[in-house]
């Protein structure tokens, strides 16, 4: 096999360009999320072979194919479970999980809740467009009441899930919301999420220009208000975060709702990993330990 060319230079945006260009619709919010992820990785200078982007299925879940890091494009709703296994087997890797609202809060809802309570050290970015795009426009778990879609043509009558409140209730140790229309702010949140030691949840308003005509860039732009602009807001205060998470309408908060750093992440709490990542452990059981296992049965 050919040896790679040695280059001591810095990681650049060009290095992170995927083998193919995104096939999202022109104007899709996901372009902004991809670019923000790439910018964050460049700013953090994490070697790209140590990054794994893991996704489920859906428009946004195609993202791993568009970024030059290791990637796994898994099953619908299962990215967090796969990512948990991968992180626990090699916690030296930086794990980014990316997907959509249907993937994460619908079919993957169970894993979403449990991955948060486990405090697995990864960043989960949901490109939340409040619609199913790849299946051509059906109601999603975050679609607002009254929204008309192909699956609910007379208007949605089911209450949407509130991802931020849910994440806070489930014990996520970093909870934030971004807007694809504000790249700089989003990049900063991604950097913070990667830096956080534990489960980081980042819900991103990522408008679907083809199927969601309610929650557009124009709809969001005047509404989103950065929590960081409120000097009195304390992201260490869980109750305050919960209160903020309920705001929806004329004013919708974005930014870091909550972070706590006093809890160990799952891999840090696991004594089996004291000797290092599983991938580096000797596969053989030491002979005296093996003998002990057999003697227990005699």
């Amino acid at each position: 096999m050919a040896t790679s060319v040695q280059r001591a230079s810095q990681l650049t945006m060009a290095d992170l360009k995927g083998r193919v260009d995104p096939d999202w619709c022109p104007g899709c919010g996901d372009f902004g999320v991809l670019a923000a992820i790439q910018k964050a990785l460049v700013e953090l200078q994490i070697p790209s072979h140590n990054v794994v982007a893991i996704s489920g299925i859906g428009c946004s879940s195609n993202l791993p194919g568009f970024i030059n890091t290791y990637g796994m494009h898994t099953l619908h709703g299962r990215a967090l479970a796969v990512a948990t296994g991968l992180k626990l087997a090699n916690h030296e890797l930086t794990v980014l999980v990316t997907g959509g609202d249907g993937d994460g809060f619908g079919i993957g809802g169970n894993h979403f809740v449990h991955t948060m309570r486990r405090n697995v050290d990864l960043l989960y970015i949901v490109m939340d467009n409040q619609i199913y795009g790849l299946t051509t426009g059906q109601t999603s778990p975050t679609s607002r009441v009254g929204m008309k879609t192909k699956s609910m043509p007379f208007g949605n009558i089911e209450a949407p899930v509130n991802p931020i409140s849910l994440a806070l209730a489930a014990g996520a140790t970093f909870v934030a919301r971004g807007f694809s229309g504000d790249q700089k702010h989003l990049t900063e949140l991604i950097k913070q999420g990667i830096g956080h030691k534990g489960f980081s949840f980042l819900d991103v308003f990522s408008p679907c220009v083809t199927y969601n005509h309610d929650n557009t860039y124009q709809w969001y732009r005047p509404r989103v208000k950065k929590l960081e602009d409120d000097a009195a807001y304390d992201a260490a205060d869980w109750t305050a975060a919960m209160e903020k998470s309920l705001l929806w309408g004329e004013e919708i908060p974005i930014g870091k709702f909550f972070e706590r750093t006093d809890l160990p992440s799952l891999h840090a709490a696991e004594p089996v990993l004291n000797e290092g990542p599983l991938v580096h452990l000797d596969p053989r059981v030491p002979p005296d330990v093996a003998r002990g296992f057999i003697e227990e049965l005699m």
Binding site: A2, V5, G65, R78, T84, L93, L281
Partner: protein
């Protein structure tokens, strides 16, 4: 006929059936006796009816057998259900103050224990159990020292006074039997052999540890939970990450995630959980990340009979996940094989980068067998296949160099269908794996420009692995005389009982041989046809209703047996079930025998 001795201990769940069972098992195995234990129980924590059968002997004891030599009923219900099963020469030890015997067959010795005279029952609630152990051991011709040692180990955590009290109670039972009961004519012998006594679940868990499994995860489900329990209890010593996951969908996906990072990864479940894993297996095959899944079959469909055995998941295994993909399916033949099959399976799935399924069942999972410790080899061959890790990867640490990627193609089209597998973290080999169809470099062909030529090439690449798999797995062989009058064909856990049925038939002058299938995929159908072409009368024996293996064999080879013996009442075959069925089929009475299980459990 080989010398064996079977004890059956029965009572309500929570009455303490397990402890006497453990003590007997320990004493027998330390005498160098082989043993096989089967616990018939229900899905209840307290109450119901449990019957533990322990069969022992100086030669290999492969199944529960037909005969109970000693019955120890701990309650009236057990006496009422099972005394009638005893035949001449057998004995029944019971608490004379709480249990009334019914009518027993001629030659059955009733052994009532005056429990309150022999022990202080206000202090010791399970005195009747301990007295019965003592009495029983005397009747088997085993010296008291062995029992004292076993009791000491059993109760040492509870302190010396508890040990002394239990030893005293056991001694009273032992002495009472000496004075009042007739000992069995053949005392249990001693041999120089040494055995480890373990369940199939423990065997598979230990086999995993021996194979170098570093990640195990599961959702509790009978009868597979024993694998999780052993793994959890021994994880830290063995250096294994063990996780309990929210559901089996999470289990398979988490296991694949860990495997993808480069460790050997395993999970176990039963049929219901396996059904949830189906889509994940397809992912393992499509992204070519190997994983081993154990299915401990129980009686289905649906929740079925959670505590009862069946071989009813074969077609679920064969059809698990949509689309065509290479897979391996092995059905371990006995509890020792439960250990051995795991490292073998891992070497194959690592080599061929596909899922491997181990089709076990409750009979093996929860049964116990005395196994020669030498058969528990913690140093088996480990072949990780074409795996590129940080150690052997040829890249360098400079992140920016990865753009060139050294020409690495994760799904390189090769003659064997096997493409060298780099794990995340290795410089110079960056790629994205996808459950969508992809090109050699991992780029999807499913979305933008679907390409029939590339799709065909990738399907053929993956499926070419089947050729290698067939060559790597040995076919089954025929055991017994080639020209036998009858050939019994079984798969997996029925090995022991069919073997004994063959011995019994041969003793009765009906020559019988056995074809036992261990590898269901690859099946080696042409070898099976060759083995069976001269067979005079073929009968397939299996623990399910529809003849799942018979149907599979026919679909692969067009072979149709002369007859079938099937059982789907939740209980395993006993040797006489097979012997009697063979005789009725040889006499031309039927082509399908469904033996009735006589023991009501």
């Amino acid at each position: 006929m080989k010398q064996t001795f079977a004890i059956a201990i029965g009572g309500a769940a929570g009455q303490g059936v397990a402890t006497p069972g453990d003590i007997f098992a320990k004493i027998f195995s330390r005498r160098g006796l082989s043993l096989n234990a089967y616990n018939a129980y229900q899905s209840i924590i307290r109450g119901g009816h449990t019957l533990l059968t322990i069969r022992t002997g100086p030669e290999h004891v492969s199944n529960m057998g037909d005969r109970i030599d000693l019955l120890i009923p701990l309650n009236q219900d057990t006496m009422d259900r099972h005394l009638k099963l005893l035949t001449s020469g057998a004995a029944c030890i019971y608490n004379a103050e709480t249990i009334k015997p019914g009518s027993a067959a001629d030659g059955v010795q009733l052994c009532p224990l005056p429990v309150s005279e022999l022990a202080d029952i206000s202090r010791n609630k399970v005195a009747q159990n301990t007295l019965a152990i003592g009495a029983g051991l005397h009747m088997m011709g085993i010296g008291f020292a062995a029992l004292e040692e076993a009791l000491r180990e059993q109760f040492k955590k509870k302190g010396e006074s508890v040990v002394v009290e239990n030893v005293g109670v056991a001694r009273a039972g032992y002495d009472y039997a000496a004075a009042h009961f007739t000992a069995f004519p053949n005392p249990l012998p001693k041999t120089e052999k040494r055995y480890a006594v373990l369940s199939g679940n423990i065997a598979m868990a230990m086999g995993g540890a021996a194979a170098g499994v570093k990640f195990y995860c599961a959702y509790p489900m009978s009868p597979s939970t024993g694998v999780l329990h052993w793994m959890a209890a021994h994880a830290r010593k063995a250096g294994i990450m063990v996780r309990q996951v929210e559901d089996e969908i999470g289990v398979i996906n988490m296991a694949i995630g860990a495997a993808h990072a480069g460790v050997r990864s395993m999970c176990a479940t039963s049929g219901g959980g396996f059904a949830l894993m189906s889509e994940g297996l397809g992912m393992s095959a499509m992204i070519e990340t190997p994983v081993v899944v154990i299915d401990c079959q129980r009686a289905g469909p649906s929740t079925g009979v959670p505590t009862k055995t069946e071989q009813g998941d074969l077609w679920q295994m064969l059809g698990a996940a949509f689309g065509d993909y290479p897979r391996l399916i092995a059905a371990p033949l006995d509890i020792a094989d439960c250990f051995k099959v795991i490292p073998e399976m891992f070497n194959l799935v690592d080599r061929f980068q596909c899922p491997g399924l181990v089709l076990c069942d409750l009979l093996l999972s929860e049964g116990r067998l005395g196994v020669d410790p030498k058969d528990l080899d913690f140093n088996p061959a480990i072949d990780r296949g074409e795996l590129i890790t940080g150690v052997n990867g040829n890249g360098n640490g400079a992140s920016a160099a990865i753009a060139t990627n050294g020409g690495y193609k994760r799904y390189k089209i090769t003659e064997s269908g096997i493409s060298p597998r780099a794990v995340p973290g290795v410089p110079g080999h960056i790629h994205t794996v996808a459950t969508d169809e992809h090109m050699e470099d991992g780029v999807l062909i499913s979305d933008e420009f679907t390409n029939p030529i590339k799709r065909r090439a990738m399907m053929e690449k993956r499926m070419r692995k089947v050729v290698g798999i067939e060559a790597a797995v040995p076919p089954s062989t025929l055991w017994g005389p080639r020209d036998a009058e009858v050939t019994l064909i079984g798969w997996g856990s029925t090995k022991g009982v069919i073997e004994e049925a063959c011995e019994m038939l041969n003793e009765e002058g009906i020559s019988a041989n056995q074809l036992q299938i261990r590898w269901l995929v690859p099946l080696h159908g042409e070898v099976i046809l060759e083995l069976l072409k001269d067979a005079r009368q073929t009968i397939i024996v299996e623990n399910n209703y529809s003849g799942q293996f018979a149907r599979y064999l026919r679909s692969e080879t067009s072979f149709v047996p002369d007859g079938n013996i099937r059982k789907y009442d939740g209980e395993p075959f006993m040797p006489h079930h097979i012997v009697e069925a063979v005789k009725e089929q040889l006499a031309g009475k039927t082509k399908l025998s469904v033996p009735m299980h006589e023991i009501m459990v």
